[in-house]
Symmetry: C2
Subunit: 370 residues, 2 copies
């Protein structure tokens, strides 16, 4: 049954070997003592957490970052030599106890989280590892300047915590000349003088490519692993890891001038060709691609025609020669000819949102390599 359905539907290829190659590119880009903690939150940016963890483990990755503890609990393969960092930390004593039992390492972002983690450690007479996040300008997670002063001046607050890394997060790393990028680095260095001998993690993907002075002791690549360009002004150094081929459900040759699709937003003429492709906004092909997106088949680029429906997108295929129009069964919506960054640009968003907005919910997913 599986085989009968496959050729009739939209499918997604996920190249685990390319994710591995991207990891190696990042490894080369970092200095020799720099560790790498792969970011696998949001179901590994939509690619399937379990597949990505296994692929990266095989080539030596032993550190992984998730956003919330629920994601850490999804790692079902029993690895006894990996470290899982929980970026949002633990919000209650009950959750902290689960983290302790499982060996997860939380990022402590607030004084409250420090109190919880320290208390849980003290109760069990343990020294528990943690990352301590300080805010250097993102204004999101981590301790403020006053709170940093407090933990420095009252060290008993962290009496049972072993801070493995001081962590901070960059807000404008993809804009190397943004004043905040240098300001955050300067502020981080100022605060670090208060934590001598503690290791440091600062850079996300874009930060890694800003050079060694941003890399410190551990980097946390996310987007670059998944093929998003981590540089702003250079050709993408990463390999694309995904292809989305939309299945053609119907081919129409227009019999008289008319509008097509919801709200009548695209006009076609007699003898124009329209194809109906099974990938709508419920499949992650965002509605903002209406009249903006493009697809590719057999040497031809073709525009999205009209408003995208929940389950399908219509394509103006008038450019296709008759024999190609008759023979094609799928179009490339994302892949070799249309990059994830292209799709994001057409949709007026960033590549990250395209990846995490549930491509492959109703598609067949094929995992390749690894």
């Amino acid at each position: 049954m599986e085989q009968a359905l496959n050729k009739d539907y939209t499918f997604l290829n996920i190249h685990l070997d390319k994710i591995q190659e991207n990891y190696k590119i990042i490894k080369k880009q970092t200095h020799s003592n720099c560790e790498i903690a792969a970011v696998i939150k949001a179901n590994a940016y939509g690619f399937g957490q379990e597949y990505v963890v296994n692929a990266l483990y095989k080539i030596g990755c032993r550190k992984f970052c998730v956003a919330v503890i629920e994601e850490a609990l999804q790692i079902t393969t029993q690895y006894d030599d990996i470290t899982v960092y929980i970026m949002h930390g633990v919000h209650s004593r009950e959750t902290a106890l689960i983290a302790v039992a499982k060996g997860f390492v939380p990022v402590l972002n607030t004084l409250e989280q420090i109190y919880i983690w320290n208390e849980v450690a003290r109760m069990q007479n343990l020294q528990l590892p943690a990352l301590l996040q300080i805010d250097t300008g993102m204004g999101r997670f981590g301790l403020s300047e006053k709170q940093i002063d407090k933990v420095v001046n009252e060290p008993q607050i962290m009496s049972h915590i072993k801070v493995e890394y001081i962590m901070s997060h960059m807000s404008c790393a993809e804009q190397p000349h943004h004043p905040l990028t240098q300001n955050q680095l300067a502020l981080l260095k100022k605060y670090l003088s208060l934590f001598p001998q503690t290791k440091v993690t600062f850079a996300n993907s874009a930060g890694i490519f800003l050079g060694e002075k941003f890399q410190f002791d551990m980097v946390r690549p996310g987007c670059a692993l998944y093929g998003i360009n981590p540089t702003s002004n250079y050709e993408n150094p990463m390999h694309s890891v995904v292809e989305l081929y939309g299945h053609i459900a119907q081919k129409n040759v227009i019999e008289r001038e008319q509008f097509i699709g919801y709200r009548a937003q695209y006009r076609v003429q007699k003898d124009d060709k329209v194809i109906v492709v099974e990938c709508g906004y419920a499949d992650g092909y965002m509605r903002s691609l209406s009249n903006k997106g493009i697809c590719y088949a057999n040497g031809y680029f073709m525009p999205v025609a009209g408003i995208i429906s929940m389950d399908v997108v219509m394509i103006d295929a008038s450019i296709l020669p008759e024999e190609v129009f008759q023979s094609i069964t799928h179009v490339e919506l994302l892949g070799e000819h249309i990059t994830i960054d292209d799709v994001a640009k057409h949709a007026n968003t960033i590549s990250y949102e395209i990846l995490t907005t549930r491509f492959g919910n109703r598609c067949k997913r094929y995992y390749i390599g690894s």
Copy 2:
């Protein structure tokens, strides 16, 4: 473990009883001989297909519409008295055989689909049921005028098919005065003279509320079941069926004027309050809500502050009195005070996309009622 995690995270309430009430409202809105086929494609618009099918079955719904056969195969409860319509039809003989085996009824949208379905029926010496879609102006699925002529003039093409309903789909039903709405109805009636004694299905949710002359023998409500307003100029007659409460991961009191979030797009002043809520675009809180969305807590509406991250959204909570700021653990992102239509407007899209864009991927989901 489950209980410990729940109070620490974002959660979604799905009111199955409200979906049932919406079904009853639709029932009242339709004439007495009109059947209802509930649209449950795209995982029942994101709400969970199995839950919604069960809830609707309990109150008498026996007809359901999915987009693709994979969705029909997801209905795992064994009902021996329901009909499942596959709106995109079957694209190959192999898939058609699966549909026959399972008793699914396809919509035949193209001559090719008619040939396949007729051939599969002929091979097994059966008369197979189907819906026959004709295009009246949407330009998407269904037979063109020339193709309708062909099936009428060559009835042997459908020798082994029992057409249960002639189907067509409205493109501008939510705009009652759009010329296409009346044009589609007129064209449908013209074509129907070619299929005497055959039942008809035309109206989606918005079409149902345009009145009896659009309802024919069966209607296909989708959005209205799920609480989206099916009328354009009237107060929403449907019940809201969903609430999304975002968990607060961190509360910040700003110590000096600064920008917050990615790309430094929101400025805060000393003593402003910012809360970090665990619901980002990977959770379906679309990035286009950056600096546009709102949330609610304890009588106060508060704006989204800056660019939405993958896993969190920041909220400017400066309006909150100190004791409320200290005590709240969640904010309403969607619910009694902020409707799905509000969120869609802020995100510059339609409510359907908000619902189907994976709310609840990492949240806890609570099913209420039914």
